[in-house]
Amino acid sequence: MGTTNAPAGAGDFALEARGLTKVFGGFAAVKDVNLAVRRGAIHALIGPNGAGKTTCFNLLTKTLQPTAGTILFEGEDISALRTADVARRGLVRSFQISATFPHLTVLENVRVALQSDYGRAYQFWRSLKAVEPLNKRAMQLLEEVGLAGSAHLTATELSYGKKRAMEIATTLALEPRVMLLDEPTAGMGHEDVEPITDLIRRAAQGRTVVIVEHNLSVVSSLCDRITVLQHGEVLTEGTYAEVSTNPDVVTAYMGGVDES
């Protein structure tokens, strides 16, 4: 999967970074990174600790503003936009730490995302009946991730794996064209990794996914394209087979007693 038959040309790439650089007080966490994510691909960013994966990710999602360089989303320059703006355009991120609304119910968690496009979010004078039409879609999304039975639990009551599934449902609620996932299996027990990987694979259907991931078996089974970062720069890019046999990558990982 992942390969699409989109027409060739500039439209081939859903997300592009050109000369992306981020400097924190003199330290360049990301240096001149060029990245092109093909439409419909599942593209991984990997690298040893401190390689600049998370900074790079935060730049792509507009959580951080780049020091230099441009970011193109479907050909449009989004370098100067904010997270909320790019989210409305269809570029939506997830978070490494479980990004739930713990005091809301599972259904409400998803409904918050659905409200994004519903135009009633500022209506403080109306009852919640005004957003009840969204419940049906929310339940659909929860069914897709296998949480329909937990819809009325408070989010804190969910297990870690289920929280991540709920987050994915929340992200999917925005019908993103590009999904950016920050270490979706981080801190997860073995029994949860497989279902979440499956879930991401299903969620990626018809979408482009950029994923930062530590778990290399997840990367190998999920991703079409892998960019390896080291010291804030692109070390190499290719398929898993290409990347995993690249001697530089092997050295980077083996000698990778990097600062974390």
Partner: protein
């Protein structure tokens, strides 16, 4: 559903209360209920700790008093004008403050409230240290005489009931849902395409406006507006009421207001002891009642409900 009989019982108690308790004390309690609810909307549902909420409460008391004295308009108009003026002030303060959060937000609101205090001390219409005195209790809707405390009480009660219903609506609205989400995880809300600071600004304006209504109610109840109502101690008191009663619960701030005002009234005969008792209460809340009175009762009932099932 099971709450309705309790609420009706509470309303019945409120209706007959003036036959037992001094009406001015009751009106103080009611105005502080509205005030504490407005504060709770901010801290409990938007996660914003305003450490200068008295500027809206006390400021509006002056505006209501001054407006009623100079125009002689009917009493409900005076109270609403107080609320609107506080909402306008809230918009100005909010524009500066909501971009910050946590301790910065608290300190900015505190600084502005101290500034407002100073302005009100110096302004010609406030009567300085003496306060704005002899605020008239004009007729309700221009016809119903409410100059006696016994009848004014019902006006204040009416406003309070409407205010509490309004708070309930705001919290259980599409807007309230997003607000709670922002309190829980602001970065995530932003990543879903919302502008959190706009929601916080609206919540701040609503909260300030309702604190103003509370101040207006207090002004007509006491027929005086004083600097005390704008002082930082009142800002602190409303925090105490909300935390004591239970943050982020609808009933919490009401219970907190009843307890604190009741205690203040009871302990006033012992002078400084009322302050010491507040300190002790604060400690007890922090150590034993993290969730506040209502929060702890809620948690207890939930445990009881769950226990037999297991």
């Amino acid at each position: 559903m099971t709450r309705w009989p309790m609420l009706l019982a509470l309303l019945a108690v409120a209706l007959v209360a003036p036959t037992v308790v001094y009406p001015v004390l009751l009106m103080t309690v009611l105005s502080f209920i509205v005030f504490a609810c407005s504060f709770n909307l901010l801290l409990g549902y938007a996660g914003l700790l305003c450490f200068g909420h008295a500027m809206f409460f006390g400021g509006a008391a002056y505006v209501t008093g001054w407006f009623l004295k100079t125009t002689g308009a009917s009493i409900e108009i005076g109270i609403l004008v107080g609320g609107l003026s506080a909402a306008a002030l809230g918009l100005l303060v909010g524009l500066v403050a909501v971009k910050r959060s946590g301790i910065q937000f608290a300190m900015i609101t505190f600084a502005i409230s101290q500034f407002v205090y100073f302005v009100l001390l110096q302004a010609p219409f406030t009567g300085g240290e003496d306060g704005l005195q002899r605020i008239p209790r004009t007729a309700l809707l221009g016809v119903v005489d409410v100059s006696k405390s016994g009848s004014l009480y019902y006006v204040v009660l009416g406003f309070t009931v409407l205010a509490v219903l309004f708070f309930y609506r705001v919290v259980h609205s599409p807007f309230g849902e997003i607000l709670k989400a922002i309190r829980d995880n602001e970065a995530r809300v932003e990543s879903l395409g919302f502008r959190p600071e706009r929601f916080k600004l609206i919540a701040f304006v609503i909260s300030a406006g309702m604190a103003g209504v509370a101040g207006g109610l207090k002004a007509v109840a006491f027929q005086i507006a004083t600097l005390t109502d704008v002082s930082w101690t009142v800002s602190g008191e409303v925090i105490l009421m909300t935390l004591l009663g239970g943050l982020g619960t609808l009933a919490g701030p009401m219970v907190g207001a009843v307890i604190i005002i009741g205690l203040n009234d009871f302990l006033s005969q012992f002078g400084e002891w009322s302050l010491i008792s507040q300190g002790v209460i604060m400690l007890v809340v922090i150590i034993f009642l993290r969730r506040g009175v209502v929060g702890e009762i809620d948690a207890f009932l939930r445990r009881k409900k769950v226990a037999p099932a297991r």
